[in-house]
Symmetry: C2
Subunit: 301 residues, 2 copies
């Protein structure tokens, strides 16, 4: 038995992968059990319960590699941010080792900070593992990457090293506007509408955020938008606007889950930018293997 | 008895002014009873109840001039939008007359629409009265104006005519981020902090909206912001960002209530822009007198 467990534990979601010696994923556990829904003192017991389905694999004896908000101040154990430039070796050197109550060892990948192109501090936790995993997976050393999300990250990798990145709060703003804004009140059930989405991309790309979003109202007033496509339109605006603030590159990698990434690909294509999709989980797993495999092997000795 | 009533009835607030023949305000009634809290079929009865304190002035016999969301689809009676360019005469020509259940006459000022500098439809209701009132009050024919609010308006007046404007959703975004965002959770009681505010203005002015706001989190993480000044900082960001999208002018008039306008003046001064404050109520009253006085006189005959 030389399996181990890779865990991506973020603000909203928990994803665990049971990985074999040769790096194959044997099984996967996902739960909507992120940082926001776990009390700090309960981290270990929540982890224990989430992994219970793997009693058959004797999970209590397996070493664990973790990345994400699990290493934040509100997480299992706080890890310091590493300043960019950052590569796999830098992350390995700063892995934080935790003994779990059932006596197995967990390694937490540190987060990364940088001064972003707008000249203030920026931070990530978890994405560094995906980003370096992406570079390793594709064999590409020069990359411009978009990781869509609640807090999207735009990152630049040069010579295989994570150089800098910017957080764009696209997902959270979309959700605030959708659920709480007076702009989107009293609408019928929304239907996915590609035309409305691209119309939104267009306005969002050309106009500042806080101006573009008002068009969701005026387009309704002047019957330029059907009432069941307002959400598609707004989604186009926030994604188009996010793309407008990208650092310029010839092509972009979009790394994330398939559904949300497809929206970015559609918007990038509409804006005549080259783009490639790579599944976020594959990047995470590759990154995690590269970062923790050495330590996992040490534990197995 | 030749008094009349001027009413500014918006999304959130109701403001009525009892005006004498020579234009002096005799009394004022304000209530947090805007469009959002009035059912459409109850408009007349709500208006009646709000004006009850003026039974001593026999309000039921007084003509009324109204502007604001009261003329929207969800209001007392829908008035069409007038396309810019718009002056007092254009508004007068399109006043909508309403008989109230107690048999007095109300005149509703139409809203205004334009194609904004970002090339999509924009609308206002109520601000047109303030803007033309401002021009008349100051005697200035060329003006760049900021009307801060839930949906701020930036307007350009040339040769005394309202030419175009842009809506910036500053106030609503601030309130969404303050009340619903995960960025501002679990903070202590907030204290007004001028230094934090200006730091926010600086970042907001230099960075796109959806990027700048993330600094409220990173500045806390790196102890560059005290936990009780996060709201001041965020307020600086959204106002600084709004100013960054202004059309260029040598000086700006800020028209609104004193407290919020002072924040804009402070931000404009910090960014080395000339600015002047004019009380929003004075502009509204001047505009309303110019627009409806002729009709009010006709009713009094």
């Amino acid at each position: 038995m030389t399996n181990w467990i890779a865990i991506d534990w973020g603000t909203t979601n928990f994803r665990a992968f049971l990985v074999s010696k040769n790096g194959e994923v044997i099984e996967k556990i996902t739960a909507a059990k992120g940082l926001l829904s776990v009390a700090q003192e309960e981290y270990s017991s929540v982890l224990h319960d989430l992994l219970l389905p793997w009693e058959k694999y004797q999970f209590k004896k397996l070493p664990i590699g973790m990345a994400g908000m699990v290493g934040s101040k509100q997480g299992l154990l706080e890890t310091n941010y590493l300043q960019t430039p950052v590569n796999f070796e830098n992350l390995q050197e700063h892995l934080v080792e935790v003994k779990l109550p059932w006596n197995s060892t967990a390694f937490i990948v540190p987060g990364v900070s940088c001064t972003n192109p707008f000249n203030f501090y920026d931070v990530m936790r978890g994405e560094e593992t995906q980003l370096l995993g992406l570079s390793s997976l594709t064999g590409q050393k020069e990359l411009s990457v978009i990781l869509p999300g609640t807090h999207s990250k735009h990152a630049v990798i040069k010579n295989g090293i994570l150089k800098y990145f910017t957080t764009v709060m696209t997902g959270e703003l979309f959700s605030l506007l959708k659920n709480n804004s007076i702009l989107l009140k009293n609408l019928p059930i929304q239907i996915d509408n590609s035309e409305a989405f691209l119309k939104g991309v267009d306005i969002g790309y050309k106009s500042p955020f806080s101006i573009a979003i008002f068009s969701t109202r005026t387009y309704q007033l002047f019957n330029q938008l059907t009432l069941d496509s307002v959400e598609s339109y707004l989604s186009g605006i926030v994604i188009g606007n996010e793309i407008s603030v990208l650092s310029r590159a010839n092509s972009y990698y979009v790394v994330g889950d398939k559904i949300i990434s497809e929206r970015y690909l559609k918007a990038l294509q509409y804006l005549n930018k080259n783009s490639f999709f790579i599944d976020g989980e594959s990047c995470f797993l590759n990154g995690m293997k590269n970062i923790v495999s050495h330590y996992i092997k040490r534990v197995w000795k």
